[in-house]
Structure formats: structure tokens, C-alpha cells
């Protein structure tokens, strides 16, 4: 029986209803997508493969579209450089004069710092390798601020790597495909960066909110931040190296502390990705994971000279131990001291009457009376019957 011959022959569903059903299904699907997204966590994104696939397709289009802009910018820079060469030259000369003094200071401080580090045995961070990339597309909205870069896992870029422009920290890598990567800007609403105030070493959290100047949260203490303080990465948590320049503190219109980013001075086109994961990469993982004293089993036998030295040290230690044991034995074998009358013991000076074994005395000579001292414990002088008990302090 054909459908049109059935009971639904005259059933006509309004088009608006069917569209509404599709809308409801779509809304349910969108909610499911939202619940499955883990963009706010530092764990791997659950939609990372989908995002990577999409970005692999979007990157070529972005490259093609951004190329004319880049060429035009280069051409404008070239023309400006040609026409403003003289004024630029004067400005650069003045800057060189100013920077020469800073260079001398920096070299002196570097030398001094190196000596301090050597004296204190400070383990400094090794230099971090970096790769240079180009921003292809730019998202500037309030709900997502990110950029697509033309370098990816093929060049060693990994999720979490810090990204810098020529002025300072820009953001970090949040997704990687083989040839592209997505950078989350410091201004993104999902961005959190531990920072410090250079002047006071106070810690804070740089929180993006979709605006151009991210917010400084969790600032503690009176006067720990002032207008114009330089803000840099603190390195807390190990996500970023310490000391990357970020910006300058400023009061926002809402009264909160905000940071004017150094990277906002010019367009972010070329960026450097620091191939820095976390502090764990600074240590030799194999050495850390090796079982304790494992190398002793595989140590080579000592040389004859080392064997003689080891034997000599062992002999000396054995002789010293035997002598110590002999002294202890002699001290234990000495006769116990004679009983002392209680009143006398209380009245006489303890230093001169306490019986001691001769072997336990120190070898250094002590001022003694003229009479020779016996090696046996000193007998206590019998107290005279009419002697009055006198406190030691009242003897004089």
C-alpha cells in the first residue's frame, strides 16, 4: 500500500512546524557541543582533531588573503623609509647614544649577576629555542581572541608554548596541527597568566576579558601596584619562563588594575614561539627517573693507586675505632667511687669533690694543687663533725 493511500494521505504538516523541529534538534546539538567542549581547562581539547582539520583548511585561505596586506605594509614601510630616512637616522643616532649607557650598565650587571650565581650555586634556566611564524588570521571578538599561525607541530610547536612579538608576550599556543597552530591571546576571556610586578615582586593573575587591556586579579597588599609599573611573567606554575615582558600597569575605567600590553604597540604579524613546555624540560628526565645508586653497580674497578688510598683510609678508621673502644672499656672497668656522706657532698664544691675516673679526664693540664693527684678516684675528705654547712655562694 502506497503512503498516499494510507491514513496519512490528507495529513499536511505546516512548513513552520517542520522548521521548528529542525531548530529544536539544532539547539539540542549545540548544547551537546557546549557541554563537551573543554576550552577552559588545560587538558587536551576534546575537539582538537576537528579544530586541527578545520584550521588546516582555513590556513591556506588566510595566507592568500593576508598576503596582499603584508605586501602593502612592506611597500608602505619601504616608501616611508625612503622619504623619512634623514629624520629616522637622527632619531636612531640619539637612541644609540642613550642605549650605549644602558649597554654598559647591562654588561656590568650581567657580570656581577654571573658571579653571584656562581657563588650561590644558583641553577639558572637554560636558553629556550624558538621558531618564528606569521599570523594568518585574527579573531578580535569579546568571546574569542586568537590568531592562526603558519607554523605547527612540524617545527616543534606544542600546546602551551609561549608566543612573543618583538615587544613582549602575546599569548600561548592552544591548538596545533602539523603545519599550523592557534595562539590564544592574553586578552582572550579564557586566558590566565601568572605575573609579577617588577618593582615590588608582588604576584598577580593576568586575566583576559576580551578587551584590549587584560585585568590584574588577586593583587595583594597596599601599594604593591602603581601606575606605570612594569608587569612581567612570574613563571609560577611552570607554564611560562620568568621575566617575559608583558606591559605596564594602569587603572581601568572600572577602577580595576589593568595592563597596557607592550605587544599592542604595533600589529602582531611576525611572532616567535618559545619551545618551552614547563620546568620539567629543564631537568634530565632519564637521570631523574633512574633508580637510586643504580650507577654503583656498573662502576668500574678502582685503579691501584685508588685501591691503596682506600685501604689506607680503611686501616686508619679501623685503628681509630679500636682505640675508642679501648678507652670506653677502661672507663667502664674502673672501680666505682667511694660512698660520700650526704651533708658533706651538699656543702663542698662539686667541681673539686666529684669523683672521676682518670681515663675519662681530658688530656689538657688543669691547674692543680701542688700535691700529686692520684689516678684513682679522689677520696672525699671526711668532714669534721663541728663543721657548719655553708652554702657555696656564701663562702666568701
Amino acid at each position: 500500500m502506497a503512503f498516499r493511500d494510507g491514513p496519512f494521505e490528507n495529513l499536511k504538516v505546516p512548513l513552520a512546524w517542520t522548521a521548528a523541529v529542525v531548530v529544536v534538534v539544532g539547539i539540542i546539538g549545540a548544547v551537546m557541543l557546549l557541554l563537551g567542549d573543554s576550552r577552559q581547562t588545560s587538558n587536551a581539547d576534546s575537539y582538537a582533531p576537528a579544530r586541527a582539520g578545520f584550521e588546516a583548511g582555513a590556513a591556506p585561505a588566510g595566507m592568500v588573503l593576508s598576503a596582499p596586506v603584508r605586501w602593502t605594509g612592506n611597500a608602505v614601510d619601504y616608501v616611508k623609509g625612503y622619504f623619512f630616512a634623514v629624520s629616522e637616522n637622527r632619531r636612531l643616532r640619539a637612541q644609540i647614544v642613550e642605549l650605549n649607557a644602558w649597554r654598559d650598565d647591562a654588561l656590568a650587571l650581567k657580570n656581577l649577576n654571573g658571579r653571584y650565581e656562581q657563588m650561590l650555586g644558583v641553577k639558572t634556566e637554560p636558553p629556550v629555542p624558538m621558531v618564528t611564524g606569521l599570523a594568518i588570521t585574527d579573531a578580535r571578538g569579546p568571546f574569542a581572541r586568537s590568531r592562526l599561525l603558519n607554523i605547527g607541530a612540524g617545527k616543534g610547536v606544542r600546546v602551551g608554548n609561549p608566543v612573543l612579538s618583538e615587544h613582549g608576550l602575546v599569548g600561548r599556543i592552544m591548538g596545533v596541527s602539523s603545519g599550523n597552530s592557534r595562539m590564544l591571546l592574553l586578552t582572550d576571556v579564557a586566558s590566565r597568566t601568572p605575573v609579577l610586578v617588577e618593582r615590588t615582586d608582588a604576584r598577580a593573575m593576568l586575566t583576559g576579558d576580551g578587551s584590549g587591556s587584560p585585568r590584574l586579579d588577586y593583587v595583594r597588599g597596599q601599594g604593591s601596584v602603581q601606575e606605570g609599573d612594569r608587569i612581567m611573567s612570574s613563571g609560577d606554575g611552570g607554564g611560562f619562563p620568568r621575566g617575559l615582558p608583558i606591559g605596564v600597569a594602569a587603572k581601568g575605567v572600572d577602577g580595576s588594575w589593568r595592563v597596557k600590553l607592550f605587544s599592542d604597540r604595533t600589529a602582531i604579524d611576525y611572532v616567535r614561539v618559545l619551545l618551552f613546555q614547563d620546568f620539567s624540560q629543564l631537568a634530565d628526565q632519564n637521570a631523574l627517573n633512574a633508580p637510586p645508586l643504580a650507577s654503583l653497580a656498573a662502576a668500574p674497578p678502582p685503579t691501584p693507586a685508588q685501591a691503596v688510598a682506600i685501604q689506607d683510609v680503611a686501616t686508619r678508621r679501623a685503628a681509630a675505632a679500636a682505640a675508642t673502644a679501648e678507652r670506653v672499656r677502661a672507663a667502664n672497668a674502673a672501680p666505682p667511687p667511694a660512698p660520700v656522706a650526704a651533708p658533706v657532698a651538699a656543702t663542698t664544691a662539686p667541681a673539686s669533690t666529684t669523683p672521676r675516673p682518670a681515663a675519662a679526664r681530658p688530656a689538657t693540664p688543669q691547674p692543680r694543687p701542688a700535691a700529686p693527684r692520684p689516678t684513682a678516684p679522689e677520696p672525699v675528705q671526711p668532714a669534721t663533725p663541728n663543721a657548719e654547712p655553708t652554702p657555696a655562694g656564701a663562702a666568701e
Binding site: 513552520a16 521548528a20 557541543l33 567542549d37 576550552r39 577552559q40 593576508s66 574569542a144
Partner: protein, 172 residues
Amino acid sequence: MRRAITVRVVGPLQWIVYPALTAIAVTVLLAIPFRLFGLNLPEPVLPIVLAFAWPLIRPSMLAPVVLFGLGLFLDLFWGGTLGLWPLSLLAIYGAILLTSNFLAGQATIVLFALYVASTGMAFFLAYMITMLNLGNAPSILAVLGQAVPTLLLFPLADWLIQRFDDADVRFR
């Protein structure tokens, strides 16, 4: 002599697929990292225009599907939370679809007021979702920085409605 009459059929390709592809192209174009005198290109949410105009033109099963795809495209292209813009766009489409019987044939100023309300609802929804999802509220100024360029696109929505609305009661 009788002249052949050519009948131009306006199908979903004309009023759904082509505008959607145009919205994608313009979004990609506006995402170029271009900066002049310290100013960047605007970043309006172009599919909001379509989400507002399509249910007023006529109901369609294809339109919500395309809107869902456009929202996914925005989330993936901008690197945002997946599902944010599909939900916001479909919310606009659903709300306009429910009230389309009352809105058909209204004056342009009324449509503009409705467009402002729809855009506000979409951005409010996106704001709330972002705040709940990330535990951090976006800046109101930043939201206005994207909402205002989107509002300025109302002439496009009005043109779409005028161009494709056939006022056929069979679609009501």
C-alpha cells in the same frame, strides 16, 4: 509571434546558500590581521543578519541546518567555545519563526527594533554561556565593540527580506 517567457525560479540556492557563502567569505576577509592607525577591521557576526531575515522570508528546513553550520564555522574559525554561535543563531531563528505571523508586512522601523532585540538576545546568550563556561565575564565594552557593527548590518537584512519575501500565505 509569441515570445518565450522565462520564469525565474527563486529557490533555496538564491536566498539561503548564496547569502551563507557570502557571509563566510566576508567573515574570512574581515579576519585579516590588518591594522591602520592603530585600528583593526571590525568583526561583526554576519550570520545574525541571516538568522533574522530567513524566518521572515519563509520557513524552511534547510535554513536552520545552514545556520547551525554557520555557527560551527564561526566557532572553529575564531577559536571560540564550540556550540556558542550555533545556539545563539538558532535561538534568534526560533524566536523570529514563532512570531513571524505577527511580523510579516511590518514597517522597516519595526523590523529594525526587532533586529536590535534579536541581536541583543544573541549577544546576551553568548555572554552568559561564556561566563558560565569559563567563569569569567567578558568586557561589556568589548561586547559592544562587536554588537554595534552587527547592528549596522541591518540594511542587509532589510534588503534580503524585501528581495525574497513573497508573502505567500501557504508558508504561514
